[in-house]
């Protein structure tokens, strides 16, 4: 037996190997057959369709009043739904469905939306919410965003706040909805500083003012003794920098909105102007006049150390950092006509990026980083446009007799600027917003004439 065992084992091994080989061969044969047959098999058929065209229409959303059990809560519910509606519609990306067509009231919606009925109204998204007073005096405001076609909840959150803060909560809810549907951050919970202008042309009073981005909660910040120009928001805190004429001396100032404290930025012999914060909020870039020319400088706000970035006899001004802080764009007439340039943040590697006809000025880098907004003057008219930082893709968004001062919403999607309109009683200035696509230009209502808007970052 002992003698027979080894050959048997060897045989078994051989048989096993042979079987395995056979399996492998059979498998290979089957695979190759499948590969041959596959292209002709109808089961494998799959049509490929490229969709390269589409439409650009506002997305229809339904926003019924938020549910409130008591009369007060219900009133808050109606007001909040209205603010959300206004925010979304003003963005131009959404349209709302007439509430008279609504098929379910706020109460019924909380249990279960009847999607089929909302589909009939062509609502693509449905926003429902509830307001509830808490024992500690605060309000609980919750919302749910539903995808009507997919019958799925896309977002849902609850906020607690004091009742007087309801408007801000509404903006925050609108931001959440905007962010969830478009993929971009919202910009509704933001503020605008601008120059409120009053009085006749020969004695114009220009004061610093602030309001919510939808025009509500207007406040005047300066007393009118000094003329204030070019306010700019700090990207990191509630601080503003601007140029003001105190005692007929134009200087750059810093102003803290919360404390109301104002301080001058450096004590320079000459005029300083066109200030802007760096993205980290720790530096300010500005212009300083020197013997008829002007050049770009930065100042560190902690050590107050000043660094020169440009030099020469030309006028270089209106500097603005890129959002990553690596580059600065500015306008200069060093090439003969006023054009826009981009350089590294240390002043090296200066590149001209505009070559069109006309004078280009006040470049403002988008917070998204992909575009630079500018003002252009050509044949007596003003244009607001955008261009990529490498100088390609220039597009003109709007034109006017006089339009200037573009400022970006913090999500880099919307621009605000001001227009001077000639009228029977002299010029009047108004603020306008426009979508990056060049559509949806709207006036922003202000109590007085307004110019030089500056958009805040999202409120902390």
């Amino acid at each position: 037996m002992k003698n027979h065992n080894p050959p048997r084992a060897a045989l078994a091994v051989i048989v096993t190997i042979a079987r395995q080989r056979l399996r492998v061969t059979a498998l290979g044969l089957m695979l190759s057959l499948t590969a041959l047959i596959a292209p002709f098999s109808p089961a494998q058929a799959e049509i490929k369709v490229d969709i390269t065209r589409g439409v650009s229409e506002p997305i229809p959303v339904a926003i019924p009043a938020f549910y409130g059990r008591t009369a007060d809560e219900a009133q808050f519910g109606r007001d909040i739904a209205q603010v959300i509606t206004n925010d979304l519609v003003r963005s131009g990306l959404f349209s709302t469905i007439d509430p008279r067509a609504f098929v379910q009231d706020a109460d019924a919606l909380l249990t279960a939306p009847r999607f089929a009925d909302w589909r009939v109204l062509n609502a693509q998204a449905l926003i429902i919410g509830k307001v509830e007073a808490q024992g500690d005096g605060r309000l609980k405001i919750e919302f749910r965003l539903w995808d009507v076609f997919g019958e799925q909840q896309m977002a849902g959150r609850a906020y607690f706040s004091i009742p007087s803060n309801w408007r801000r909560v509404a903006h925050i809810v609108a931001d959440a909805i905007y962010q969830r549907i478009t993929g971009e951050d919202g910009y509704f919970d933001t503020r605008i500083v601008y120059i409120a202008e009053t009085g006749i042309a020969t004695n114009r009073m220009k004061r610093l003012a602030i309001m919510d981005q939808d025009g509500e909660n207007n406040r005047i910040l300066s007393d009118g003794r000094a003329m204030v120009l070019t306010p700019r928001f700090s990207p990191t805190m509630q601080q503003i920098t601007y140029m003001a004429y105190y005692n007929n001396k134009p200087r750059v100032y810093l102003f803290n909105i919360d404390t109301g404290r104002q301080e001058v930025l450096g004590d320079f012999e000459n005029m300083t102007f066109a200030p802007r914060f760096a993205p980290d909020g720790n530096r300010v870039v500005f212009s300083l006049t020197e013997n008829g020319s002007s050049n770009v400088f930065t100042m560190d706000l902690r050590g107050r150390r000043v660094t020169r970035l440009t030099s020469g006899a030309s006028i270089s001004t209106a500097p603005c950092f890129s959002p990553d802080g690596q580059h600065i764009t500015f306008e200069s007439d060093r090439g003969g006509s006023q054009q826009i340039y981009v350089m590294r943040a240390n002043g090296s590697d200066v590149q001209r990026i505009t070559f069109g006809s006309g004078r280009y000025g006040t470049p403002v880098w988008s917070p998204r980083g992909d575009l630079i907004a500018f003002t252009k003057q050509l044949q007596g008219r003003f244009y607001i446009g955008v261009i990529r930082p490498d100088g390609s893709g220039e597009r003109i968004l709007t034109e006017a007799y006089h339009a200037e001062g573009p400022t970006w919403a913090p999500n880099g999607r919307v621009l605000m600027f001001f227009k001077d309109l000639p009228g029977s009683r002299g010029r009047s200035s108004h603020l306008y917003s426009i979508d990056l696509t060049g559509y949806n230009e709207r006036e922003v209502q202000t109590p007085t004439d307004a110019s030089d808007p500056a958009w805040s970052p999202l409120l902390p």
């Binding site: 969709i51 065209r53 589909r119």
Partner: protein, 277 residues
Amino acid sequence: MIRTTVNDERLKTFLAVSAGLHLLFMLSFYIGLPVFFPPITPPHQPVPFEIVEIAEITNTRIKEPEQQEQPPTPPPPPPQPKAEPTPPPQPPQPKPPEPEPMPDAESLKPMKKPIVKPEEPKPQQEAFSKLLRNLETSKVPPVPKAPQTQEKPDPKSTSAIVTPPNSQAPALSDRLTISQEDALRRQISQCWNMPIGARDAQNLIVEVVIDVNPDRTVQHIEVVDKMRLATDSFFRAAAESAVRAINNPKCSPLELPLEQYEQWKVIHFTFDPRDML
């Protein structure tokens, strides 16, 4: 002498025979040759054929079923005029009361305007031009409209033609025709709200695979790049816009020939906004 006489007589005989034969030959021309065995004529077999035209971008909602019935009818000439359903003659047939195509209505100004739905014209003007606005260029050229006109196939007419899916009627081809694919593309385009102003919109190309029910409604939608869907909020928004386009009730059921279900039960869509930026 005798010799000559004999020769004369033989000559006469030959001449007579020759004349007789000539006469017979001539007569055969006049009367015709007799037919002793009647020929077996094969039965007349009509060869069916049809003339097919490949339209570039129209949705010729093929009226084949009617035409295919015609070959059996005996006379060959009548089929011909009917056999070619070239695009021009078709429009009269599909009922005019529902002229959805907007641009068409514009081109035919006076007649159709009242019938046109009031809502849609404005968005459609923008729909097929560049969607990013540039005042400098937009002043000069008028909106270049795609010929999105007559081919809008009233969905009802589509379903009207449909033959039962299991019928053995020979499909014209194993694949959808260019026209049929184009009809589907056009339909979905009208429901796709593009992510125009989004950052890097040129990179937001979304691939979606859908399973379709035999009744041409969408059964299941799947975005191919799931990793990016989970990590990139811009891509997610773009993908959701694609999904909304397919789910949009305005685009249901899909414009597809019911009888070729095997061909379109899985469709791979690529939503690419680059051309519109």
